[in-house]
Symmetry: C2
């Protein structure tokens, strides 16, 4: 059993917590201003602009832990670009801010409804995970699979750039009603 | 009926030609050094490094036509980055080289086998099209649908950056045997 802490109380945090709990793991949902963090895996289920405050408040407490970045760092004023470097990613920005943590990118290509239903249209929901630490990726992948979802290892943390491009495009398609919030990208092996 | 010219004789060019022909359209497959191009729509079904020669040879003949870029501009020596600007795309590079053509991005997120089989795993194959000319996108979308595949309008040509990120990640996943060449991303409405 792994202790999983979820920071953020929105749809995504709730859906990810439910997946971990379904697999028998210990899950705590904590507020952004919590004093202690029990989890060995900490999911930052907050919008990208909220990350800086979390790093400032909890940076020391996150040392030695696996930190899962699920953000899509859109410029929500335009829906036309990202607010991170074009050749980088939010995950890489966060990894630089948390050098003593092991940062993974995951869940940003999954709408919350597809995590809960375990389906994207008629296809099974697959969580893509990127990161530079294979053991950390395996630990998270095992939790996701135990919760009933598929997993694909998307490669090194550098591939978060591409995962965030997928998340970005998917959000623009849903916001413009070309797809629904229960649809989106799925990934077949 | 629309006249479609396919430049390039590989798996992708053959699959796209078959889709257009299945819908009753006139299809010509032409070599890179052909003298004339009959199509109103011209598909550049060649690797990205071959585009410059085609522009040099056929640039004038492509004026006034719809040019479909299907490339994934990977650095194939590393499989770790693209050879176009990180905030741009091959499609935008090609559009700058062909200012008198209407450039669309399409098919780069579809493996050839999934165009032929019309399925990605168990999901229907969907072709994503990006471009700045709605009439051109509609013309291509109608051809693809008539050939039996789904279509999603991915937005402006600027979104080719994200489509090429998808194509890039999908190629790395297949090359590393995390998915097969008959799998990959599908898109559910």
């Amino acid at each position: 059993m792994t202790n999983v802490s979820i920071i953020g109380t929105g749809n995504m945090g709730n859906a990810i917590g439910a997946i971990a709990a379904a697999g028998g793991h210990s899950v705590e949902h904590i507020g952004r201003d919590a004093q202690a963090i029990a989890g060995d895996i900490v999911v930052l289920a907050v919008p990208f602009p909220a990350v800086d405050d979390i790093v400032a408040t909890h940076g020391a407490a996150l040392a030695g832990k696996i930190v899962v970045d699920i953000t899509n760092p859109l410029d929500f004023s335009t829906f036309d670009s990202l607010v991170v470097p074009a050749d980088g990613s939010a995950a890489q920005v966060i990894a630089e801010k948390l050098p003593q943590s092991t940062v993974l990118k995951a869940f940003n290509t999954n709408f919350a409804a597809t995590l809960a239903s375990k389906t994207v249209g008629d296809a099974p929901t697959v969580v893509q995970i990127a990161g530079d630490d294979d053991a950390a990726k395996t630990l998270l992948a095992d939790i996701v699979r135990a919760g009933g979802l598929g997993v694909v290892d998307a490669g090194a943390l550098k591939r978060a750039r591409e995962l965030e491009a997928i998340g970005f495009l998917q959000l623009t398609l849903a916001a413009s009603e070309k797809i629904s919030w229960t649809g989106g990208y799925s990934l077949s092996a």
